[in-house]
C-alpha cells in the first residue's frame, strides 16, 4: 500500500499483516507516515494498493465500507463533535449499524459501551467540547467501541494526556488485547507501546522497517 499527498509520498509500498486477536504497535518518529498509514487503511485518504480485512478487500475511499467490515479508527486528536453531548457522540459510533439494529437499539447500546468506561456515565448530557482531554479521549474510544469493531485502529491515543490518564487508557487497552479484537496501535512512545503490544514495527521515512523487538512478556 502507498499513500501520497500531491507530490509528497508519505507512505511507500507498505505491507503489513496483523493476525486475528493480535495487537501490533507501529512506532517511529513523527512525520514518517504512521498516521498516514492508518488513515489510509481506514479509507480516509486516497491510497494505492489493497487493504483486506478478514480476507475481504475494502473499496478505496470509502470509510463507511471499512466501518461496516468491522475496521474502526480512533483518530489522532479525537475528532469528536464538540457541540453534541457525550451520549450523542458515543451513539453515533454505531451509526453504520443503525439501519440494521434500529434507533432504539442504538441508544440502548450506549449503556453497553459505558460498562467499559464507567467514568463517562455522569458526563452523558455534557457537551463533548467542555470535557477535559482525558475524558474526551475516553469518549473517542467509547465511540469507536460503539461501532463493535473487529479491528481497532488507534492513532496516538495518549497524545497530550497526562501520564496518569494515559496509564488508564493503556490499562483499558491491555484488557482489550485479552479479547479476540485485533488492534493496530500507532504510538510515538515505544515505552507505552511495549506495555500492550504483541509485537511492534517501526516506520521510518514512509517504510515499515523489519519486525521490531517489542514483547511484553
Amino acid at each position: 500500500m502507498s499513500v501520497s499527498y500531491g507530490k509528497f509520498v508519505a507512505v511507500e509500498s507498505v505491507t503489513l499483516s496483523v493476525g486475528v486477536g493480535e495487537c501490533v504497535a507501529v512506532i517511529g518518529p513523527n512525520g514518517h507516515g504512521k498516521s498516514s498509514m492508518v488513515t489510509a487503511v481506514a479509507g480516509l485518504v486516497r491510497r494505492g494498493g489493497a487493504v483486506r480485512v478478514f480476507g475481504q478487500q475494502l473499496p478505496a475511499g470509502s470509510p463507511g465500507a471499512a466501518v461496516r467490515a468491522g475496521l474502526v479508527l480512533v483518530p489522532e486528536r479525537r475528532h469528536l463533535y464538540p457541540e453534541l453531548t457525550t451520549r450523542d457522540n458515543i451513539m453515533l459510533g454505531s451509526y453504520s449499524r443503525t439501519r440494521r439494529i434500529g434507533a432504539r437499539q442504538a441508544w440502548e447500546d450506549v449503556a453497553g459501551v459505558l460498562d467499559m468506561f464507567p467514568e463517562l456515565a455522569r458526563l452523558l448530557d455534557q457537551k463533548a467540547g467542555t470535557l477535559s482531554g482525558g475524558q474526551q479521549q475516553m469518549v473517542a474510544l467509547a465511540r469507536g467501541m460503539a461501532a463493535q469493531p473487529r479491528v481497532l485502529l488507534l492513532d496516538e491515543p495518549c497524545l497530550g494526556l497526562a501520564e496518569a490518564v494515559a496509564r488508564r487508557v493503556y490499562d483499558w487497552l491491555g484488557e482489550m488485547t485479552k479479547t479476540d479484537m485485533t488492534i493496530l496501535l500507532v504510538e510515538e512512545n515505544p515505552v507505552h507501546a511495549v506495555l500492550v503490544a504483541d509485537r511492534a514495527v517501526r516506520m521510518y521515512k514512509g517504510l515499515v522497517e523489519q519486525p521490531g523487538v517489542a514483547s511484553h512478556e
Binding site: P29, G31, S132, C158, L161, A162, E188, P190, A214
Partner: protein, 272 residues
C-alpha cells in the same frame, strides 16, 4: 547566573543539574513559572527557563509534552494562564506576538508556513522591512521593498540557497522550504530563534545540512531547537532541556543528558 532549578520527573527520580548554561551574558529570553492549560489538561506546567545570549539549545520530549505550547507562550501567539515572560530583561508577558517579533524573537513552526505562489525571496523579504509599522500610504514614496529583498538575498545566500531565491516556494523541495523559513526567521537579525522541528520529514543527509545551517545561525544569536531526533539534537546543541508532561524534566549540558534517565525514556526501547 543559574539555570532553572532541577525538576523532578514523573518517575520520581531527580534529573538535571545546576550547571550554568554555556552561553555568556544575561538571558535574552526567559520565562518564570509559565502555566497553560487547555480544557483541564495542563499543557505547560510552571516552566521556568532562561535563554542566554548565544548558543544552540535543544528542547526535547514526546508529542504532547508541551514543547510547542511553550514555544507559543514564548513567542506570544498564546497567552499564559500564569507566570511571566521577559525579553532582554523587560517584562513581556502582555506583549502581542507582533511586538515580541519586533523585539527580536523569531520562530518557525512544525509545518511549513510560507506564502504560496510567491518567490522564496519575497517570503523572506516580508520579514525584514526597515520600518515594519510604516503607514500604508507612506509606502507610496518609500516602498521599502528593494532593500528588504537585498537583505533577503543575503540571508538566503548565507544558508546556501541563494540560487533558489527567485523560485516560487511551492516548487521548492521540503528541505529548501525549511531553509527558506529559517532565512525568513533570521533575516531580521533576531536575538532568539525558536525553531520547532525544523528537520521534520527530512532525510539524514538533509538533516545534516539543516543542522549545519542551525549551527551557523547560532554563532551570533541564541537558537532553541525542538527536535525528536536526539542524535541530531545532542550533536549540535550545547545545552539541553527535556519536557515531560508539561514540566521541565531536565536542564543541563549534553554529556549529563546522555546519562540521564529522561534520555533513556526518550530513547525508548533500546534502553528499556
Amino acid at each position: 547566573m543559574r539555570e532553572t532549578p532541577p525538576e523532578v520527573n514523573a518517575n520520581g527520580s531527580s534529573a538535571g543539574s545546576d550547571q550554568p548554561a554555556p552561553g555568556v551574558g544575561p538571558a535574552v529570553l526567559a520565562c518564570h513559572d509559565v502555566t497553560k492549560s487547555y480544557g483541564g489538561v495542563l499543557a505547560v506546567d510552571s516552566v521556568s527557563l532562561e535563554v542566554p545570549l548565544r548558543g544552540l539549545f535543544g528542547l526535547c520530549g514526546f508529542n504532547g509534552a508541551g514543547k510547542s505550547t511553550l514555544f507559543n507562550l514564548l513567542a506570544g501567539s498564546v497567552t499564559a494562564d500564569s507566570g511571566s515572560v521577559q525579553i532582554d530583561g523587560k517584562d513581556a508577558t502582555g506583549w502581542s506576538a507582533m511586538r515580541r517579533a519586533r523585539s527580536g524573537v523569531a520562530r518557525t513552526w512544525q509545518t511549513v508556513r510560507l506564502a504560496h505562489g510567491r518567490t522564496a525571496v519575497d517570503n523572506v523579504a516580508a520579514a525584514c522591512l526597515q520600518n515594519p509599522g510604516q503607514w500604508m500610504l507612506a509606502s507610496l514614496w518609500r516602498p521599502q521593498a528593494a532593500p528588504a529583498r537585498e537583505r533577503a538575498w543575503a540571508a538566503l545566500e548565507k544558508l546556501g540557497i541563494g540560487h533558489l531565491g527567485g523560485q516560487l516556494v511551492d516548487g521548492l523541495t521540503l528541505e529548501a522550504q525549511r531553509l527558506t523559513e529559517l532565512a525568513r526567521a533570521i533575516v531580521s537579525e533576531p536575538t532568539v530563534l525558536l525553531a520547532d522541528e525544523p528537520a521534520s520529514g527530512l532525510s539524514a543527509t538533509q538533516r545534516s545540512v539543516l543542522a549545519e545551517a542551525l549551527t551557523t545561525i547560532s554563532e551570533d544569536r541564541a537558537v532553541v531547537v525542538v527536535e525528536h531526533d536526539l542524535d541530531m539534537l545532542t550533536s549540535i546543541s550545547g545545552h539541553m532541556w527535556a519536557m515531560v508532561e508539561g514540566r521541565l524534566a531536565y536542564s543541563g549540558d549534553v554529556e549529563t543528558f546522555r546519562a540521564s534517565p529522561v534520555h533513556a525514556r526518550l530513547r525508548g526501547i533500546e534502553q528499556a
